[in-house]
Amino acid sequence: MIWIAIRMLTGDAQKFYGLVFGIAFSTLLITQQLTIFVNLIERGASGTYNVSSADVWVMDPVSRTTDVNFPMPSTALDKVRGVTGVEWAVPHLRAGASVRTSEGDLEGVSVIGVDDATLIGLPKRMTVGSPDVLSQPDSVIIDDVGLTRMFEDGRSPIGERLELNDQRAVIRGVADAIPSFTSQVTLYTKYSQALRYVPGTRNRLSFVLVGAEHGVSPEELTRRIEEQTGLRARTRDEFAQDGVDFIIQNTGIPLNFGITVLLGFIVGVAIVGLTFSLFIRDNIKQFGALKAIGVTNGKIRKMVAAQAGLVGLIGYGLGVLGTVFFIWGFSGNPTFKGFYIPWQIPLISMAAVFVILALTGWLALRNVLKTEPASVFR
């Protein structure tokens, strides 16, 4: 009977493709918009995730995110090192600065000072050069997305001279980093160098990056550090979440994307619901005949479920495929750098498709189940 149901469904090509299109469109809209939404707000956490080796971030109690920070006195580093369970701790500086390029343009950049000796705080991978170039005087490493903003003509930035706080800075490498929410140009340099590049204030130490001893959980360590030093300590994941929360709280992004996703859902319900109802109504006589011949309501339900299932499978598959093509197609674009599809999102859109089909299928089925077999004799 399911074979017949599928035949009935695909026999009406117009409605079948209408249904598939409706589901595919909804899936695409929901999946793609949710993907972009998640990736966009996770830009708030990129500063945290770019540093691959720190278990815990320690900061002034008023600091909120990697970019919204209040510097600490330099002895905070030693205070943190004195805490039991801290395997290592290194200084980390993040501050905004204005840079003058060799053409004389002014560009706002964020300067990141990494530990002089270990270079902890640099992104994991480099696009051009190696982290060792920082040992040369006046060296900075630029991030790859910042590179496209700063050198729009695509020429090699290696050896380019910049002027930062009246100091000379030479680009000697390009880091492979996830850009920040604002896609600001980021310059990595040594901590001691960064002190010179950032206009002076008394305290400079933005963060202390901490590695936990084996056997000490980051959560436990943050508790100890906060207790002993009075500074604010966050685990890597907590701090990444702080960055995301900051964007959620301070931008209209969740609302905008929420509206789009809802629209996708409504469009899906509307298209699929209408088409499905039309399809069932067109076939109501056949269903009535089947019921008279001796097909139980349970089998009818299974038939409609199979039809919905096929539409759902094809529509969902094409929709997800579309999203994958979208993300894959734009992966070379700096705006979309590092974009990925979190595995939860296809599951969410699958649930949405399920709800759409269950809802519309139920509505359409009600007609069929209400049809009296006797109606076929009239």
Binding site: M8, K285, Q286, E372, V376
Partner: protein, 244 residues
């Protein structure tokens, strides 16, 4: 059907026994009684016509007799089974196994070919699709349209569609065939051919065949004619009464 076999011995020729079948329809505040206590036996091996004006209740009567419409009162035994004593699911099963339907508008599924349309009851019974199709093709051949087996209903003429519908009604060898206005959409010659065909393939020793019609051109082919007027049987005989 073990129980029907036992019943068959007692009521040898009574395929359907309806006793005191009454049916009311509610129209707003009013209750309209369509059938007034019908007592009739339909015998197997005969071609029985149910004839009447529209509104006389003939469709209601055969709907009740073949188990798709509940009577308000009375009981119906089909081959000894009190069908309105069965649960809903059992009744559906009973219809599937014992009754073949030929609808006025055929109600073929447009997106599957003639053979598959004819095989629907077998498929619904759970038979493998290809096996069912084979049997259906055999039945179509019996009805002289075996060469049309692979065509969609929309590619067939009205008469051919009718034959496919007949094949569907007979393919699972039901013991009761119910036929609603089989000739209504056909010209006189085709109508007659269909009736001849029905006589030929549907009437069997242990099979009852009820045809609802008001087509006077084919009355002469009936074994028995029941005339219904205002919910009552006014005539029961092998010939039409005078005046019709």
């Amino acid at each position: 059907m073990a129980e029907t076999d036992i019943q068959a011995a007692t009521t040898a020729k009574a395929a359907i026994c309806s006793r005191g079948v009454t049916r009311d329809f509610k129209a707003g505040q009013q209750t309209i009684t369509v059938l007034h206590g019908i007592d009739v036996d339909i015998r197997a091996g005969e071609l029985t016509y149910v004839v009447g004006e529209s509104g006389s209740g003939k469709t209601t009567l055969i709907s009740i007799m073949c188990g798709i419409l509940w009577p308000t009162e009375g009981e119906v035994k089909v081959f000894g089974t009190d069908i309105y004593d069965l649960s809903d699911t059992e009744l559906v099963e009973f219809r599937l196994n014992n009754i073949g339907f030929i609808f006025q508008q055929y109600n073929l599924i447009p997106s599957i070919d003639a053979a598959n349309n004819a095989a629907v009851p077998l498929i619904a019974q759970g038979m493998d699709r290809l096996e069912a199709r084979e049997k259906a093709v055999a039945m179509l051949e019996k009805l002289n349209i075996g060469n049309q087996a692979g065509k969609l209903p929309s590619q067939l003429s009205g008469g051919q569609q009718q034959r496919v519908a007949i094949a569907r009604a007979l393919v699972h060898e039901p013991r009761l065939v119910v036929c609603d206005e089989p000739t209504a959409a056909l010209d006189a010659a085709s109508g007659r051919r269909v009736m001849d065909l029905l006589r030929e393939v549907a009437v069997a020793e242990d099979r009852a065949c009820i045809i609802v019609t008001h087509d006077n051109r084919v009355f002469d082919l009936a074994d028995r004619i029941l005339v219904l007027e205002d919910g009552r049987i006014t005539h029961d005989g092998s010939e039409m009464p005078e005046g019709h």
